[in-house]
Amino acid sequence: MNRRAFLQSATGAGALAATAGLATPAISQRVAARTLRFVPQADLANFDPIWNTQYVVRNGAALVWDMLYGVNADLKPQRQMVESEEVSGDRLTWTFRLRPNLKFHDGEPVLAKDVIASLARWQARDNMGLMIKAIQDELVAVDDRTFRWRLNRPYSKLLIALGKVGTPSCFIMPARIAATDPFKPISDYVGSGPMKLVRSEWVPGARAVFEKFSEYVPRQEPSSWLSGGKQILVDRIEWVVMADPATASAALQNGEVDWWETPIADLVPVLNKSRNVVVDIADPLGNIGSFRMNHLYPPFNNVYARRAILTAMSQEDYMRAVVGDDAYWKPLPGFFTPSTPLYTEEGGEILKGPRNLDAAKRLLDQSDYAGQPVTCLVAQDLQIAKAQGEVTADLLKRLGMNVDFNAIDWGTTAARRAQKSPPGQGGWNMFHTWHAGAVCVDPSSYTAIRANGDKAWFGWPTSEKVEAEITAWYEAASFEEEKSAIGRLNRAACEDVVYAPTGFFLAHQAWRSNVAGIVKGPLPFFWGVSKAA
């Protein structure tokens, strides 16, 4: 029996015991009904959502800092801190007016100068922000509640940029904090959102505590993801960091925590058996599994070698290794999130149908692959990356490739993947990861789809066709034009194999049955969540 099987059976037995009513009242349970205890996906080691683009930081930041706009469940940006906007006839000048009575946590009013400083810091780190900055003539405060943005070219995705969930999201901070170099972390966490970070109780690696900000003025509309009325129904939210999934599972079953953001697939059956625990899909937009090939060096600098991989790979193998249960994954003949408006399978034939190893071998022959080792980075401490890596190693062997399997941790992978040196000299040929489906709905935050060579994401793909279609999407004036551009982009990305999508899969979240109001979404939304005693 391996460790995971042991944990599963141990916690499973615990769950069964609880189901059978063997449990007695907990002498150790002191959870107040007004305090929500939440186990986040990772440690909140740092709290600067611009400097650090990890999702866990964004998730905490969404509590503490508000945004000008926020996307709703239909992926449409909605006004949030902004009361109204006005765009000139030539679509070059945008004038925004802030809602009245917006306040920072130190009691100071939110002013246009704060917004401008926040936008400037965000622009320096965000791809869309950089694009806007490149066409920006001025960004100025007109008065305390009004600011104007003048561009020299229309930018139709402006509101998407301001309200997106992809990191870094555009959070509004006091000007003095936003003046910090965007490549250095802030050390003051005065926010504009519905909750305050309790600095004195924040222990990185252990817990972060948020308290309700009584002067926050929510919008009147119902909340929907990052938009609408962010009504906080508890006084205090405690993020309890638990590195071990089995511990988090046991703590949830025992009532020591109320909500677990990311139960691992292995423990979901155990949690399902616990009568006091509700398990559901975390995010309908799910995730896209991926392995990146290094386009700079043989064999994957040759498109035939990359196509050989797509021709041979079985997404079913990958997804069964990652999530197991067939109900929680689907094949993905493309690069965009299923069930979203721009989803397309255009050009995705290479990923459909029965896998053809012989055809893949023929493609590999055409690529002049000479049997050199293929350096495959596989992070052992991330279950999804590990599972994918093992499937890939098997795939490469079946293709007759010489696999140099590097079992390392994620920290090493993150550093190695940035190396542009040849694979035998500290570089690499492939690594595994996954992308949040929320990011893959369009190209706005989807850095992994870019194919602009040196400036592209790790692997540094170059494809003029792909870049042209991304530009076409940005310049599209209607939804039909956007849809058409994304279709052509998907085809180009499949032909040039920007990366190899290993399938679409869903993850879970779990909470105690006395907690209500939890919604499915790309991040945990705490507004509207309540807890009964």
Partner: protein, 313 residues
């Protein structure tokens, strides 16, 4: 004696210097890049490079080492790359749970291991002795995380007597503090109990063969007096040595135990820092524990003089 203590304390300086150079060099050559982790998965290589520059990670080894040593000499352990908090503050936030866990484990282990080791020696080659030694082998063999999960399953999930995870500060009450530490201390203490019990048994067996024990028996001293007053006192030096050596075992075991029971201690901090390549934190913790270990050894050496009057420095 005072001279000896002063000399030993002064001797810690070169030890710490070697540790500092060793840990800094090791981290310098270790793979990994904190800038890549800070930047996040969506960051471009250019962003990673800019962050690396802003953190000063692109500077040469000697410059970085010199700067760090200069900070240390001024009593500053540096600032965490990730949290932007002083390393000393982070250690201070985490030291209480770890020290509490180690203290409870130590008390538990010594109070269990020494008596059962004595009993095993007294009942040598009997079923009791074999039973105790079998348990000791089991204690050595079963990994801490297995013991931890079993304890959590039985006493937290099934019986609901104790919490699964967490830590409550001592200032919030003795029982709340203790209830979070009982299961982790038992899990962590198993190996320690096994080690001390085996050494106690072996040492006691040797002492019980001595002439003065036979003399004591001849004088009519009871079994308890012989075992605990005469024999154990003379067997104490190796036992105390093992307890001291075992502190290192506790430090290592705390890493796993704190993970299993979600205790926010130094062990977890160490693992997190290593996984993120938070160099200043790793360096600070290694220095701290090296210092503690040197001090513990000094205390053990001083304790010898109390246990054995023949030992003089």
């Amino acid at each position: 004696m005072l001279n000896y203590v002063v000399r030993r304390i002064l001797a810690t300086i070169p030890v710490m210097a070697v540790v500092a150079l060793f840990v800094f060099s090791l981290l310098y050559i270790a793979p990994g890049d904190p800038a890549a982790i800070v930047a996040g998965d969506q960051a471009t290589p250019a962003d990673v490079e800019r962050i690396r520059e802003s953190l000063g990670l692109d500077r040469p080894f000697l410059v970085r080492f010199g700067e760090w040593v200069w900070q240390i000499l001024h009593g500053d352990l540096g600032t965490s790359i990730f949290t932007n908090l002083p390393v000393a503050t982070m250690i201070a936030q985490r030291i209480e749970p770890t020290l509490s866990l180690m203290a409870v484990t130590l008390i538990l282990a010594v109070s269990v291991a020494v008596p059962i080791g004595v009993v095993a020696a007294w009942k040598a080659d009997t079923l009791i002795d074999r039973g105790i030694m079998a348990l000791a082998v089991l204690g050595f063999s079963v990994p801490v995380f297995v013991v931890g999960y079993l304890l959590a399953y039985v006493f937290a999930l099934e019986l609901d007597w104790l919490p699964v995870q967490g830590y409550t500060q001592l200032r919030e009450g003795l029982w709340p503090w203790l209830e979070n530490l009982i299961l982790p201390a038992i899990a962590l203490g198993c190996v320690y109990i096994a080690l001390i019990a085996r050494v106690t048994r072996a040492t006691m067996l040797e002492v019980l063969q001595q002439d003065y024990i036979r003399t004591a028996r001849a004088k009519g001293i009871g079994q308890g007096g012989i075992l605990f007053l005469h024999a154990l006192k003379n067997a104490a030096v190796p036992i105390v040595t093992v307890i001291g050596i075992g502190i290192a075992l506790l430090i290592g075991g705390a890493v796993v135990t704190e993970t299993v029971f979600a205790i926010p201690g130094i062990g977890r901090l160490t693992v997190d820092a290593i996984l993120r390549r938070d160099y200043p934190v790793i360096q600070g913790i290694v220095l701290l524990f090296s210092f503690i270990y040197v001090l513990v050894n000094l205390l053990i050496d001083l304790l010898y003089t109390l246990l054995d009057p023949r030992i003089r420095y």
